[in-house]
Chain length 561, copies 2
């Protein structure tokens, strides 16, 4: 044991003076987009390309599922027994006068009725949900969004706001025939203040484009996620996207300084402040952060950008048990402090899957399997200080027995290969067969108990793996089986939600509720809180036209609140 530790210690120290490497993220590198998916698939980063082609007429179907024709919701997999719901009869069907009216506002070419383009916009990224909208609108200004919504509200036409359509809970596609309002034509950067680091942009800007723009200015976006090549900032804000930088820069509730949003009746709320501090009344922008387009359509965003720091280091470590991972997190927070930028973990089963199913991925540690692996990233402003600090921390943790083994990346390729392991888990799971996926927030010390209890529950019929953003208390729990089986699902649900609720966790850490989890809300929110949500929805969107059937439980959203 001691010999092993010493060997590992030597390896940790055995890197060249050139071992500093440049930042992992290069906005123009699709390879990097590919290997940085936080919770989705590795090819997310290429989605925008496919999307462009798709709008040009090519059908993209990487999973080979085919475009289903279901008119009610059928969750093919990924948990949740299919929830069949009915179209709300209070919504009007679309007629030719409506089309003419929209053409008058937006111009002929921004009123899309082409079947191929509609098929694409009706289908979510996972091919799990498919609506039957007959109309896609592409407004180019807040004024146009306002006029469209005012009309839809007066005509009781239901709408679904859509950004990059990269959501994972069915929030960004129609359920039935809702009019799709896609924001991609509102993609201008409005201003950037280099002194304060405050960026103002339209909602349809693709996250990666903002990243590139800021990179040239010496700044970064405070959020980063695998879908950045397709997702839009308005969608990020509307869904309160989490991602890889949350442990360092916090959530969008802290980083978004202002919002412009259009309400259901067409009223424009100008809350587009560009100030770090503003205590003049209720801060209503927070209502729009994470409400998934159900209270209004975000048209512009003001966001605080941190300065870009030059020094990034990545270590891939092995721990003998989950308690050591926890302890290591605590130590990392204290000793790495201000330079810690990621603390991710995966279990032995996760690594095993990645090594077995992904091409060209190898274990950077010697073949003996450990129980847990941790990826630590630091980002700071001084190469040599940061590296020395990380080394000292790693040596201390090794000596203290928290780390069983570990390697420190010596260049950007090694760093990318470490990230590839962590980020390849989702892709490996897809290749391994059927998978039931859960995105949960839990108290860190209890998080892994759920994985272990789930293993006992499903027995030998399925493989249970756990990985995720340990630094944020965010577990991605996955149950992998050769094929989908309702018997397995019945063993997982509602157990997984009940367990999460019992331990004061959240059934959706970063993906939102959308359609998938609207009816599961009571596992994470009290009845009184949901009732107040519903009252606010009723106040702000009395006809319920904005993204219906989503977020709020159907029992409440159909009743008069």
């Amino acid at each position: 044991m001691i010999m092993e530790r010493l060997r590992a210690t030597r390896r940790l120290l055995n890197y060249s003076p050139k071992s500093f490497f440049a930042p992992r993220s290069h906005p123009n590198s699709s390879e990097h987009s590919i290997c940085r998916s936080a919770s989705g698939f590795a090819h997310w980063g290429r989605y925008s390309e496919h999307q462009k082609r798709r709008f040009g007429g090519t059908v993209w179907d990487p999973l080979g599922i085919g475009l289903g024709k279901a008119s009610t919701i059928q969750c093919r997999y990924f948990g949740s027994v299919a929830a069949k719901i009915q179209r709300d009869p209070s919504f009007s069907p679309l007629n030719s006068d409506d089309i003419s009216y929209f053409k008058g506002i937006l111009g002929e070419k921004n009123v899309i009725q082409d079947e191929d383009r509609l098929a694409f916009a009706n289908t979510d990224w996972m091919r799990k949900y498919k609506g039957s909208s007959k109309l896609l609108l592409l407004p180019r200004s807040t004024e146009e969004v306002s006029r469209v919504l005012k009309y839809c509200n007066s005509r009781r036409l239901a709408v679904v706001p859509q950004g990059g359509n990269t959501g994972l809970v069915g929030g960004s596609v129609p359920v039935f025939d809702e009019v799709i309002i896609n924001m991609s034509s509102m993609n201008n950067i409005i201003s950037f203040d280099k002194v304060s680091g405050i960026l103002v942009s339209e909602a349809g800007c693709i996250l990666e484009n903002l990243v590139s723009f800021l990179d040239n200015q010496g700044f970064i976006m405070p959020l980063d996620l695998g879908a950045k090549g397709s997702c839009q900032i308005g969608g990020n804000v509307s869904t309160n996207a989490g991602g890889l930088r949350l442990v360092r820069y916090g959530s969008l509730h802290g980083n978004v300084l202002g919002i412009e949003a259009v309400l259901a009746n067409g009223d424009v709320l100008d809350m587009l402040g560009t100030l770090r501090k503003d205590n003049t009344g209720y801060d209503l922008k927070h209502l729009f952060i994470g409400s998934e387009g159900s209270l209004g359509i975000v048209t512009k965003v003001s966001i605080l950008s941190p300065p870009k720091l030059s020094s990034v280091n990545v270590a891939f470590l092995a721990c003998k048990d989950y308690f050591s991972c926890q302890k290591l997190l605590l130590e990392a927070k204290r000793r790495l402090g201000e330079i810690l930028s990621a603390f991710e973990f995966l279990d032995n089963e996760s690594l095993d899957l990645v090594l077995n199913h992904l091409e060209g991925v190898r274990n950077p540690l010697p073949p003996s399997m450990h129980n847990f692996y941790v990826l630590i990233e630091t980002t700071g402003s001084n190469e040599s200080y940061d590296k020395e600090k990380l080394e000292a921390f790693l040596l201390r943790s090794m000596e203290g027995g928290l780390i069983s083994d570990g390697v420190l990346a010596q260049d950007i390729n090694q760093a990318s290969s470490f990230w590839r392991i962590r980020e390849g888990v989702a892709e490996a799971l897809m290749k391994a067969g059927a998978v039931y996926k859960y995105d949960l927030s839990l108290p860190v010390e209890k998080m892994y108990n759920l994985v272990e209890e789930m293993r006992i529950k499903v027995g030998s019929s399925a493989k249970v793996i756990g990985y995720g953003h340990l630094g944020d208390g965010n577990l991605h729990l996955n149950v992998s089986t050769p094929q989908y089986d309702d018997m397995i699902l019945a063993q997982i649900e509602p157990f997984v939600y009940e367990w999460t609720s019992k331990h004061h966790g959240s059934i959706s850490a970063e993906h939102g509720l959308g359609l998938m989890k609207a009816n599961k809300i009571f596992y994470s929110k009290s009845h009184k809180t949901v009732q107040l949500m519903a009252s606010i929805k009723k106040l702000m969107d009395p006809n319920g036209i904005l993204n219906p059937y989503k977020v709020l439980p159907h029992s409440i959203s159909y009743s008069t609140v």
Copy 2:
């Protein structure tokens, strides 16, 4: 010029190897509380002692103003022409049955009718606002708060929620005869999770007590302000308190993870999550952060605590012009990056006032006056790295001409003496005579233009000084005159609000609106936004019993929305 720079450079370098000093803040040191007032007076830190004595019967009157008897609001100074408002006749007067009922819920000793104690609770910290409440209630649990509010709502008794009563805009005292619900008896720490750094406490915990508690655990509070010896965490959250750590840790919207609040009708909203990530529906806790007790009473708070870092450094620097200060801020963000924890500025006139009016304060720089002074603080986890990094930055800035002169604190006493200059400005202003105070957020590059324009406007009849949290874009603009004079006030207002509004600033960066600025809200918020605020107020507090006359403009709050 070059000689001067070299001399300064030498001084910057000329400190002993022991020049690292311990963290500036020691929770048990009243001296530190004294010298850390962000925007109020130096003796704020001792307020809690006085408060205790006051509740014991001693009248505290440090400003020698005396307890006024005004039954309508009379702003004696500090801007804003007195706004005379009428008591809302829809509120019931208190009767003896009410008192009996409250005694039944809270017990005799928590229903306060003692005149001395009421006089204290009726008067705000600045002695600017004074109500005439006849009843102070001290609930000890959420259940008691709920029962009290449910009763008040049914009886239409107006209430004012009160924490440490350290607010500066008249938000925490009654305007007329509102029942005071003081939260100081709900002062238990409920839990602390050392792995995640998440603290859960009751709303009445004094900030400094939480700081001490966390200090023992190796953590800090993400907010720090001069009033910490008296202010309560529930009040901090309800007013979205800013303070000295905002530039590093961001606002409470990012740091507060959960809230328990009681609505006007007594309903308890349990949103006391202890998770960093939770995307299950609208994040309604944000409605309570900064709404100044007008939507509900915050009873418990869950907050993310950063780990305590051991290395703190402070530099006091001179700049030749405001542009250099701005440029220096940009450079500091980039080069000090993750260790920058404060960037404060004051002008020559501010330093002059401090040196002339405060005992024992001396200029750490040679006697030649510069135009601007900047205080930079860094906080990190490695003493030698941090100091070297700061030195390199200072030398570079000196060589580049951004800094004209400067000193780096060699021990905690020097650091405290630098902070004393910055934090002594408010106290010096009080000693200098009458003062009109404004707390504004402005784009950093335009901020000081207002000071210069104000100087032209008031001419030789008053002294205009500017200082504040440059790193946050928060200017404290003060106009100092020998005595109060409505002619001067007419030159300042509404000019100062109009100028701020024209430059997209905020008329209240961190103090809130309270009673003082309720009618000024339209300078910073659009009519549609204020209308939505009012609708939400009406939804959540239909009888308007919670902190009436505050936050919302009186034209709207008296009408049916």
